[in-house]
Amino acid sequence: MKTKMLLAGVTAGVMFAGSVLASTLDDVRARGKLNCIINTGLAGFAAPDDKGNWTGFDVDFCRAVAAATLGDADKVNYTTATGKTRFTKLAAGEGELLSRNTTWTFSRDVDLSQTFIGVNYYDGQGFMVPKALGVKSAKGLDGASVCIQTGTTTELNLAEFFAGNNIKYNPVPIETNAEAQELYKAGRCDVYTTDASGLYATMMSFDNPSDHMVLPEIVSKEPLGPVVRHGDDQWADIVAWVLRAMMAGEEKGITSKNVKELAAKDNKDKEINRLLGKDPLQGLSKLGLSADWAVNVISQVGNYQESFEKHLFPLTIKRGMNALYRDGGLHYIPPIK
C-alpha cells in the first residue's frame, strides 16, 4: 500500500520537475533585461564608478549583448560572482551571460557543460612583488609566501611553475581580489599572483603603484572570454557575433562616433553594409536579431578598440596580444557575410 502511494508521489514529482525550456533570447526579451554575471570588483574590467554604476571592459560586453538583443545597452541586471561561484551561478540560471575574465580551458568547456564563445582578452598569469624585495625574476622566489586568488586556474599554474623550476613556496589562498590586495599590502605575502591584467588593475589601485612591479615571467596562457550555458546554440551565436561585431567595428574603422553616419549611407566596403544592416545579412533572422543590432552595439558601447582604450589604457595595459591580427595581435575574426 505504502509503496504504491510512494510510486504515485514519485510520478507526480517527475511531472512537477519536468520544466519547459524556452529559448534564452525569449527569456531575456520577456524580462526586458539581460542578467549578466560579472566580477565582484576588478578595476578596468568590472568595478563600480563614483556614481555606483558598474563599468569596465567586461561590463561593456554585457552592455553590448543587451544593446544587440534589447536595443538598449542599459537594460542589464548585474550579478557579481567570485571565481568560485561563477560557474554555479551561470549553471543555476542566475545569468544568461558570464562576462568575468574567465579562462577558457578544456575541462571547463567540456566537463562543466558550458560554451566559451570566443576570446575577448588574451592574458597570462604573472607575479607582482614590492620593488623593495629586490627580486628580478620569478625564479628567485624560492621560499616566498604567495597570495593566490582561489577558484581560478591560477593555483594549478602556480603549482606547475614552482614544481617545474624546483622551488618551494607557501601558498596563501584568498577568495576575492580585494581581500588578497589587503593581505599583500599588509605583508602577509611576498608575492601576489593572478592574471597579468588583474595585477596591473590591482597595482593601479594602490597608493604608490610605483613601489610595486610585475615580474617579467608570464607562466601560463589565459585566454579570457565570455561564457554561456551549453545547449542553446542560438544564444551562443548571438553572444559570439556581438563580440565579433565589436572587433569588426575596429577592423573597419566603425566607431561610436561615425556608426550612424556609416549606417545611413551606401559604403564601398560591402561588409560594413552587411554589418550595419544596409545590405541583408543572410541568416540574421535565425538569430532573432533586428537589422540594426550591430549599430546599437557600436553606437551605445563602442567598438573593441574604444572599449579597450577607455577601460584598460588607464591601467597602463598595452594592446600587445590583444591587438587585431593586422597590427600584430591575435584577434582575427571570421568575415561577416
Partner: protein, 387 residues
C-alpha cells in the same frame, strides 16, 4: 462505511493513518527533490560522478598533517583539509573549555571587579558575529606583527612575525626509547598510587597529596632517563633564509587567528553554561559542605562541580559542535580546511559542486555525530545514578 468511521474513531488506528499520510508526503517531497535535481542535471547535460576524487588535485596546500603534494588526489587533498579542520577544532575546544570554565567561575566570584570583568567579556564577545572575530584576529596578527626580516625574537629561538609563529622543533635521536619507557612506568605508578591512596583514605581517613606526588613523578622519571641516556633530543631552531623562516615548528597566522577567535568566542558561551550549571545546584549543598569544614576549593571540586557537570555537559556538547562547524568560516582568511580544499578549490577545479558539497556535508554530519556520541557516553558516566 461504518468500518471506515470506526477506524477513524479508534485512537490507535487513527494515529497510524496520520503517520502514514505524513510519511507519504515526506517521501513525496524527498523524491520530488531528488527527481528535480536529476531532471535539472540532465537538462544541463551533467551527470553525478565521484571519479574526480581520484585524479591529481594539482594545487598545493600550505599546511598538511599527512604527506601531501600537488600530484596527490582530490580525495587526499580533502583528507588534508579535514585534518586541518580537526586540528583547529581541537585547539579551539581546549582553549574554549579552559577559558570558559575559568570565566564561568570568576563570574560568580564575590570579588566585584573580577565578576564584572567576566560579565563584560561574555557580553561583548558573544554578541559579535564569529566571522568578525576571525577577521579581527587575523587582521591584528598580520598588521601588528612585523615582517619576518624584522621578526620579534624570543631568546633567538622563537620568532613572531606576520607569517606566523616559529618555535624550535625537537628532534629525537637514538636512546629516546628509554625516556618513553620511563614515562610509561611513571604513568602506571601514578595510577596504582592513586588507587592505593584512595583505599587508604576510605579505610583510615588519612589523605596524601596524591596529585602533586604524581605530577612530580611523571615529570621527574622521564627527566632522569633523559639525562641517563645522554640527552637524546636536539632542537631544530628556525632561521631566516630568503623570504621566510625555515626549520622549526610553524603556526600560521591563519591557524592562530582561527584558534583564538573560535576559542575566545565559544568561551563566552561556555562561561554562561558553567555559571548556569553552578547556580543550578541548591545553595544548601554549598552550605552543608562549608559547615563540615571543607575548604572553598574542596567545596567546588568535590561537591558543586560534580553535580553541576550533569547540567553542564549537554549544552557544552552543542558548543563543541558549534565550534567545529564554525571552523568552516576559515575560508574567509584562507585557512585550508575541509571547505577550502574539497569544498573550495577541488570544487572549482572539477566543477562538481553537487558531489563535493554532498561529501563535505556528510563529513561534517559524521564529525558532529561522533562528538555528540562521545559526549553522550561521558554524560551517561557522570549522570545521577538512581539508588
Amino acid at each position: 462505511m461504518t468500518f471506515f468511521s470506526n477506524i477513524w474513531r479508534n485512537e490507535k488506528s487513527r494515529e497510524i493513518i496520520v503517520q502514514i499520510i505524513v510519511l507519504f508526503f515526506l517521501g513525496w517531497f524527498i523524491s520530488w527533490l531528488v527527481m528535480n535535481v536529476n531532471a535539472n542535471f540532465e537538462a544541463l547535460g551533467k551527470d553525478i560522478s565521484f571519479e574526480f576524487l581520484f585524479i591529481p588535485a594539482g594545487y598545493d596546500i600550505n599546511q598538511y598533517l599527512i604527506d601531501y603534494n600537488n600530484r596527490d588526489s582530490h580525495l587526499r587533498a580533502g583528507i588534508v583539509g579535514l585534518l586541518n579542520t580537526g586540528l583547529v577544532a581541537f585547539f579551539g575546544i581546549i582553549l574554549a573549555t579552559i577559558l570558559g570554565i575559568a570565566l564561568g567561575i570568576i563570574r560568580l566570584s564575590k570579588n566585584w571587579l573580577a565578576s564584572k570583568i567576566a560579565y563584560w567579556y561574555v557580553e561583548f564577545t558573544r554578541n559579535v558575529p564569529i566571522l568578525l572575530h576571525i577577521l579581527l584576529w587575523h587582521g591584528i596578527i598580520i598588521n601588528t606583527l612585523p615582517h619576518p626580516r624584522k621578526a620579534i625574537s624570543l631568546g633567538e629561538v622563537t620568532f613572531l612575525s606576520n607569517r606566523g609563529f616559529y618555535i624550535p622543533k625537537p628532534l629525537t635521536e637514538t636512546g629516546i626509547e628509554l625516556v618513553y619507557l620511563f614515562f610509561v612506568i611513571a604513568i602506571i605508578f601514578s595510577i596504582l598510587f592513586a588507587k592505593y591512596c584512595k583505599r587508604k583514605q576510605d579505610l583510615t581517613g588519612i589523605q596524601y597529596p596524591v596529585f602533586w606526588i604524581n605530577v612530580s613523578v611523571i615529570c621527574s622519571l622521564p627527566l632522569i632517563a633523559f639525562f641517563i641516556s645522554g640527552m637524546p633530543v636536539s632542537l631544530e631552531i628556525p632561521a631566516l633564509k630568503g623570504f621566510n623562516f625555515r626549520g622549526g615548528m610553524h603556526m600560521s597566522p591563519e591557524l592562530a587567528a582561527l584558534t583564538f577567535a573560535l576559542g575566545i568566542y565559544t568561551a563566552a558561551f561556555i562561561a554562561e553554561i558553567v555559571r548556569a550549571g553552578i547556580l543550578a545546584i541548591d545553595k544548601g549543598q554549598r552550605e552543608a559542605a562549608e559547615s563540615i569544614g571543607l575548604k572553598p576549593s574542596k567545596v567546588m571540586n568535590l561537591v558543586i562541580l560534580p553535580q553541576a557537570r550533569r547540567v553542564i555537559i549537554p549544552p557544552l556538547t552543542s558548543q563543541y559542535l558549534n565550534l567545529t562547524k564554525n571552523s568552516s568560516l576559515a575560508i574567509a582568511i584562507g585557512y585550508m580546511d575541509l571547505v577550502a580544499t574539497l569544498g573550495g578549490i577541488s570544487l572549482n577545479q572539477t566543477g562538481r559542486e553537487m558531489e563535493t558539497m554532498l561529501i563535505v556535508m556528510l563529513i561534517y554530519l559524521s564529525v558532529s555525530l561522533s562528538i555528540s556520541a562521545l559526549m553522550n557516553w561521558y554524560n551517561s558516566k557522570v549522570k545521577l545514578v538512581g539508588r
